[in-house]
Amino acid sequence: MFQAFIALLHRDLTLVMRRRQDALYGMAFFVIVVSLFPLGMGPEPALLQRIAPGAIWAAALLASLLTLERLFADDCGEHTLESLLLAPQPLSLLVLAKLVAHWLYAGLPLVVIAPLLGLQLGLAPAVQLTLVVSLLLGTPVLTLLGGIAAALTLGARAGNGLMALVLLPLFVPVLILGSGAVEQSLHGASPQGHLLLLAALLVLALSLAPAAIAAALRIALD
């Protein structure tokens, strides 16, 4: 069972390594969207610091939306998904392997590049640390929730806009808690409460989302 998990994880990561630009789109999008805020609102440092938590977190949401769309679409096109469904291992475990792979190539890069963006917007080191921790806890939740929407909208007529419509309302708590944590530490308060809630959200999503995704995939390929 665990072997299948590792094998699938390995396969997905290998696929990404073969087409590296796919993984970079999300990150590039993230950087560009955040860079638009100073251009749109003016370069005043105090203002930039104030909008930084929200801007970075909103951009992370949009960047994950961009990469999540392809989460199951390619596998569905080449009929790999059917074999996953027919495999003897539980589908939710296999789904989890795909989600972990997705987070490693699409979520983790956002966490890694975030300090650079924080620097751009003039955040202090302590705030940067909170930003990284909040993204580290929050981006897996985005992947898990996004997996549900990606599986539900698989093969839909208007995939693009539909995905945003379905997913963004579900992302709201992550956005609020994530940017809230950064905001707290921007004001010199402890972000612990928000981070703990974000961690709770992660545990909840981790325990429920794979089963929901498995159900959604079964519906998709019924």
Partner: protein, 271 residues
């Protein structure tokens, strides 16, 4: 014995017959309760000592806000039933409730904005309740979009049911996160609670219009479900017999145009 009777109405033909008798009563109840409630509210109830007459939009606003939430929970409940027991009628009820829920969510926001201007001085405030109502509206939009996203109706229905269930788990999380977020920024300066005591006539008007909204929701959803049942049953035995023998009953079951709300039309739902 009672179990069998319940499942009896999950069969399209029985459902159609039952709603045929229920619907006129429900429409009448909706009209009667709303009219009485509005009469009590507008004529008998005294003006508020703080807000004067502007508070009277409450008779629409509060029931609409309650109904929007209740309809989402009902929709998710039917979605769950559909997913677990594969009862087709549950899916029909879920998608029949959605446009009415969306309508009430929109009405709650709109009437709230009209109420907010004279009392708070702003049409919109990022208050916890307002924000979570707005997100509820988005959830309805996502549900309706997904419900009509696939050619295969069965597939659309199942996907939308699953989304409704996921949404209902998320709803309390959204509600609390929005509340914490809001208190972080400006403190809980605004709540929707009025002066603590409410005169008896105000309360009566509120309860009456609430019951009216319940009856309207039941009637609208059942009406829509009825036409969906007919549409899906298509050429089955009982529908054909209905068409041949009982003209009036068939004619009553057909007003699909009446059932579809304009908002549902905008989203491309087939009436």
């Amino acid at each position: 014995m009672s179990r069998i009777r319940w499942f009896k109405f999950a069969a399209p033909a029985h459902f159609h017959a039952l709603t045929g008798t229920l619907l006129p009563w429900l429409w009448a109840a909706a009209l009667a309760f709303t009219a009485t409630g509005l009469y009590v509210g507008f004529v008998i109830a005294p003006p508020d000592y703080q807000q004067g007459d502007s508070y009277r939009i409450m008779w629409l606003h509060v029931p609409a806000a309650w109904m929007a939430m209740l309809a989402y929970f009902l929709m998710a409940g039917y979605g769950l039933i559909h997913l677990v027991w594969r009862i087709k009628l549950a899916r029909i009820m879920a998608s029949a409730l959605a446009p009415t829920g969306l309508l009430f969510a929109f009405l709650a926001l709109w009437s709230g904005a009209l109420w907010g201007k004279p009392t708070w001085g702003a049409y919109w405030v990022w208050d916890a309740r307002l924000t979570s109502s707005l997100i509820l509206l988005f959830l309805y939009l996502g549900y309706l979009a997904l419900d009509s996203a696939f050619e295969d109706r069965e597939r659309s229905g199942q996907a939308a049911s699953l989304l409704a269930v996921v949404g209902v788990i998320n709803l309390p999380i959204i509600y609390f996160s929005v509340q914490w977020w809001n208190t972080l920024h400006q403190g809980a300066s605004i709540t929707l609670s009025e002066a603590p005591t409410m005169s008896a006539s105000m309360l009566a008007a509120l309860l009456l219009t609430t019951v009216g909204c319940w009856a309207y929701t039941a009637a609208a959803a059942l009406h829509r479900a009825r036409s969906m049942v007919l549409e899906q049953a298509g050429n089955s035995h009982w529908v054909r017999r209905l068409r041949q023998g009982h003209r009036p009953a068939a004619a009553r079951g057909r007003p699909a145009r009446l059932a579809a709300t304009p908002i549902g039309d905008l989203l491309g739902r087939r009436p």
